[in-house]
Amino acid sequence: MSKHVRVNPIACEAHGMCAELLPERITLDEWGYPLVDGAPLEGAQVEHAMRAAQACPTFALLIERDRKRSRRSAA
């Protein structure tokens, strides 16, 4: 079952840890909020994503199982 990352935008306070720990999928916008590539995580990215989720001070980074096959929303 493939997984992807998603941000809870209400919880997110732009600490930016996620972009440090998962640069493969997350960059920051000009205000410091994450721009997320919600494509399925591949290989070692799953572990990087879990580390990033645990490091988020507001627990705003979520790792979700793909519900639909073609889920590509940029959260």
Binding site: N8, P9, A11, C12, E13, D29, Y33, L35, A74, A75
Partner: protein, 463 residues
Amino acid sequence: MSAPPSPTAQGAARLPTQSAAALPRLLAGISEHGAMSLEEHLALHGAPPARRRQARRRDGDGDGAASLIEEIAQAGLLGRGGAAFPTATKMRAVAGARGRAIVVANGAEGEPGSVKDHTLLELLPHLVIDGAVLAAEAVDADEVIIAACEYAGGSVDGVALAIEECALSSTGSRNAPPVRLVIVPGHYVAGQESALVNYLGGGPAKPTFTPPLPFESGLRRRPTLVNNVETLAHVALIARHGAPWFRRLGTPSQPGSALVTLSGPVAHPGVYEIEQGASLSSLIEAGGGLTTRLRGALLGGYAGTWIGPERLAGVALSDEHLAAHGATLGAGVVLLLSEEACPVAETARLARWLAEQSTRQCGPCLHGLDALADALAELAAGAGGSRPTQRIERLASLTARRSACGHPDGAINALLSALEAFPAEFADHARHGPCEGCARAAELPLPHRPVSGETLRRRGLRA
């Protein structure tokens, strides 16, 4: 400011179609002089069939509640709060979810261009209550909440009196679920489904992160059917007259009639009931005609789409037709802009207002809408640099689809559609700064509505 839409109904638009005689439906018997009483309502529309069904049920007769959802599905009723979601699909989801359901009739109507819901609650409250109770019976709910806006005193009074009338009446069913009124904050996003449920549950009137959606886990974690009050008014009539009757008006994909709030330079701005798919020109005619030439129209509401003057003539008010213009009827808002108005100045003011209506929960919405409002103000002043529209488009794509609710996305839709509908005006302002029309008073109403219902808290009216 031009006349804002008056909160009194102007009666139904009589439209030149073969079925015009079938209108008005919802607005039948409406009077500007006060709410329709329960007695008048029952005399006009008859008793709601669910109550007759309950009488039958005592004799062991079948499942009328499930058949109402089926009837609504066949009628093809779409939600009238703006999203046009199929009502029966929502009702089935609530009926099938675990736990006893709650029905919320959403009359928050924070949209400044719309007064149709306030009008229904103020003048035809029994139609809405009827529909809400029927919906409650259909999804097996044991509680009905009518949410009325803090700024719409008439709606609040209309519903409060109607609930009292029902309680005193002997015709009401003893088995009907209790109906109560809750006054909700009036800021723009307060009527968003999750924000409304959040507020009713004792939280702020701000959207929540989804899933879960209210239909699976809403108020007090119970499945919650949130329907716009106009949607429920249609339910009351579909229950009485059936799906084929409903489909006698409208288009195959958007059947029935719809309430529309018409404002701008027409002789009689107000609420009109139209057949879905009716032409814009017939609506303007019903509104007494134009008092000046038009610069454009904003359709759907403040999250809607601008249409420029050259395309206005052929517009029909159905989503299948409006799709070609990138527009929808939304919550039934038709805002006309007079020729003397400046669409750039109106858009810049609208951008600032939409930014202020952010509930400031999500970073991209908070910062993105603010930056967009700045960029539009600078463009309008001729101080936007060499490529101001490119900057606006970049900010829009950076901001879109990154927040918990659709507010920033709707705002961006309206702002970008203005750039598209009035390219010459925007180019002219970018180069030469303000025009003569910029100094005119705003035509789009931009009411001061602080986010989060502070006024309610001060008055001790909090849910």
